[in-house]
């Protein structure tokens, strides 16, 4: 298919390579599975409540704030995504093609239920879509959307989905500064 507008933005050979890599990584499905370092715990909840200035007795009585879902599986200081992490694999591919800058644009979280102190989360990452090239105010780039799914595993072997997140970034070539 011919996309004259796109061809003007990015070399067609480069674009094809990017989209082929996107398809390859999408094929990994839910990948890079890993567990939270810690169980959902009160001290980490308390630090978050203090920083956010949120006061809710429920979060002193065994429940965790819903938007903390992502916090439990953050990599932590010095932590790094694995080579098989779909989002980071796609970022590497785009960086290699010259799209060196990154900007978060959308984050859509859904919570199946509130988490409870003592639960340990497992998370997977999938590449959802790569859309572009687009000319934006920041420069020419691709929108990369990944999907995280969080689970709590039960003793009977059932993995219960507890939260999901669609996260979109613009991976772009910074525009030349005009002085």
């Amino acid at each position: 298919m011919n996309h004259p507008a796109s061809e003007a933005l990015v070399d067609p050979a480069v674009h094809e390579k990017i989209m082929a890599e996107a398809e390859r990584i999408k094929g990994w499905g839910e990948a890079a599975e890993r567990f939270a370092r810690d169980e959902v715990n009160q001290p980490t909840i308390n630090n978050w409540l203090e920083a956010m200035g949120l006061d809710n007795p429920r979060f002193k009585a065994g429940e965790a704030p819903p938007s903390m879902a992502q916090v439990w599986t953050m990599y932590g200081l010095g932590g790094r995504p694995s080579e098989d992490d779909p989002l980071h694999a796609m970022m590497r591919a785009l960086t290699g093609a010259g799209f060196t800058a990154v900007l978060g644009t959308n984050c859509e979280q859904s919570y199946d239920r509130y988490l409870e102190v003592g639960e340990r989360l497992r998370v997977t990452t999938a590449l959802d879509s790569v859309v572009g090239p687009k000319a934006t105010g920041m420069g020419v780039g691709y929108f990369v959307t990944s999907r995280n799914t969080w689970y709590v595993d039960h003793p009977d072997g059932r993995g219960e989905r507890v939260a999901t997140m669609l996260f979109r970034v613009l991976k772009f070539i910074p525009r030349e500064k005009t002085s």
Partner: protein
């Protein structure tokens, strides 16, 4: 909750302490959220509020209004202008739909540079 209900406006000064303490509390150690030299070398005016905190402040804003028993089902945000220290967040919000037991609240958190976060918070109605 009824369509058209407005949330009271909420202002929050963005101090360096807010930016750093919320980044660390969300276990986000990216240097642009706590090291001004590195943030500026990367072309930013200063350190800036991280995305997990933009989401969390939407949670707080809606919870402060709806009460502690509110059951939040989801928070979707679109990110705009960066939130730098010495600026101020101004949050506004409105219930935009109530159907099938779910209320949708549109939330906007703006800074001097424009809208920082445009969010949709869904709660059990």
């Amino acid at each position: 909750m009824n369509v058209g209900d407005r949330l009271p406006e909420w202002s929050l000064p963005i101090t360096p302490t807010l930016v750093v303490s919320t980044a660390i509390a969300t276990r986000d150690f990216q240097d642009v959220h706590h090291d001004r030299d590195i943030a500026q070398a990367a072309g930013s005016k200063d350190i800036f509020v991280n995305i997990l905190t933009s989401t969390a402040l939407c949670e707080r804003y809606v919870t402060d209004w709806a009460g502690p028993d509110v059951q939040i089902r989801g928070i979707s945000i679109r990110l705009g202008a960066p939130a730098y220290p010495y600026d101020t967040f101004t949050f506004s919000g409105e219930v935009t739909s109530v159907e099938d037991g779910v209320a949708t609240i549109k939330v906007v958190g703006s800074v001097s540079l424009g809208d920082h976060v445009i969010g949709t918070v869904t709660v059990a109605a």
